[in-house]
Symmetry: none
Amino acid sequence: MRDIFSQSTPIVFPKFEEKLRGALPDLPRLEAQVAQYMILNVGDLSFETGVSISEKVGVSEVTVSRLLRRLGYRGMRGLKRELRDELFDREPIQEGNEGAREVPEGMTRNMDLEYQALGEIYQQRASPLWGQIVQTIVEADRVYVTGFQAVRGMAEDCARRLGMTRGNVRFLAAHDGMLTEWLKWGDEESEKPSRCLILIDVVPYAREASILSGICSKEGHSLIVFTDEMCHWARNYTDLVIYASTRTGLILESTVAITAALNLMVNSVAGHYSTSLTERLDQWKTYTRALRLF
Amino acid sequence: MRDIFSQSTPIVFPKFEEKLRGALPDLPRLEAQVAQYMILNVGDLSFETGVSISEKVGVSEVTVSRLLRRLGYRGMRGLKRELRDELFDREPIQEGNEGAREVPEGMTRNMDLEYQALGEIYQQRASPLWGQIVQTIVEADRVYVTGFQAVRGMAEDCARRLGMTRGNVRFLAAHDGMLTEWLKWGDEESEKPSRCLILIDVVPYAREASILSGICSKEGHSLIVFTDEMCHWARNYTDLVIYASTRTGLILESTVAITAALNLMVNSVAGHYSTSLTERLDQWKTYTRALRLF
DNA sequence: GCAATTATGAAATATAAATTACATTGCGGG
DNA sequence: CCCGCAATGTAATTTATATTTCATAATTGC
């Protein structure tokens, strides 16, 4: 059995610890003891409960409760919420220190997370799964790309760029005739071309996403999903899922990692068509030049 | 060893994860979803409660409870206890071969360039220019966002996200009635509201970009440009230019850095409205939920 | 050393979490 | 098409957790 005042785990909550240490001298005796215990066991704290702490320290639960309120937390629940927030280093939104310009110092963590998210993408890029995904796209007769809400535009761009590397790529617009586009692209019903849907979705997930996924698996089409680390449903429909972290400490989620993943994907696919690619790009440039509608 | 799919926190529970993954294929649909969520969020798990998980995944609490029992845990409490144990007697450190990022040869250079491009964005983020840009956006009565070709979708998303942080943001669509939208937004012609255009463009630059820029400076509207390192014309019209490198060795140019810049911009603006932001976001979520058009 | 203040715990209460029992749905096999 | 089982949810119940109230003990200031 571990000692009551056991060692601390590698997990740290700097803000929380500092706050506690700062308050320590002014705290009543027993509450200080409790605080001390918390400092020594920050890493475990999320597993504890009011009583469990009070038992280990040898005080009554009320004391723990009171300490927390004195520190400005709203009870054990509140503490855990704040700790969790700190774990992801997101400022509580309502707290807003508007006057204070966000200093670059506060941004370094965000940058690290962004770097890390990018790194994870490149790792996935190196996995066999990636090869499967590229293969699937290359082999499909027709490719559809779709995305919703805050990543809809990204999906459009992705379709555009993918369309530069190979033919038969279409963006699927939600709502307006989505299924029409999906169902009758060509005129020949006879040959039944193989189809592949690339789906991009992040929290809060769109209902359309899982509906479309359902259709896909039912119809036997390939499905590739680019989503964030919170997504729990994608795996129900396909193994071809790329997870891009969106939690980087910004108020709104970050789309950088997903963008990177999509870029890499387009690039990989492009690699398969490298011979015909240059002429295709030239062709595209000619088109856009010709289209000077202004 | 950190798994590709795990989230960004360093907390890992190998045994637990393995167990879950192993069980995954044989699990009932919804329970599998819950399991999936748990795998993707191991680091958070100690903060969760039965209900909180069930809510996030969208199942009832009983399902979570049942999953746990099926896995051999004695409910949420039991799970946490075992997780805590695992956290505690996990081998000191797996320093060993962990450092080695598994990124294929040809990709490391690309990744470095991407990192570098990101770094440059964060540098600009720290410059006084950034403050000016944010200021300009915050002060403008009306904000327009536009982008062309391969970054058009990005501009749309940017407009959407910016629109979540403040009102009066519009995406300007090229070609179809662009100027109409631009010229008469409101009804009151009298007061002449201040306007700000955010323009996103990369090679090959669209003709529309400089034309619009011209209009802007002539009409006295603010102009902010996000572009790539090759852009020669933006400075002719405004000082408020953010340069994001797009040359990262991919066959098609990378849009990652621009995405990062736009994300940061939206975030900075959001910081100025932090008080009203939460309710605005809630409102937005309610809207999208209500709009279940399918 | 005596009031006034503060700290603390016991018991009661309120709130939340987890489990159980039962009802409903949906799906595959005959 | 119906049966029956497995999956899932609802509502009731039990259990745990947190908070309030109040009485008592400790401490402080004078």
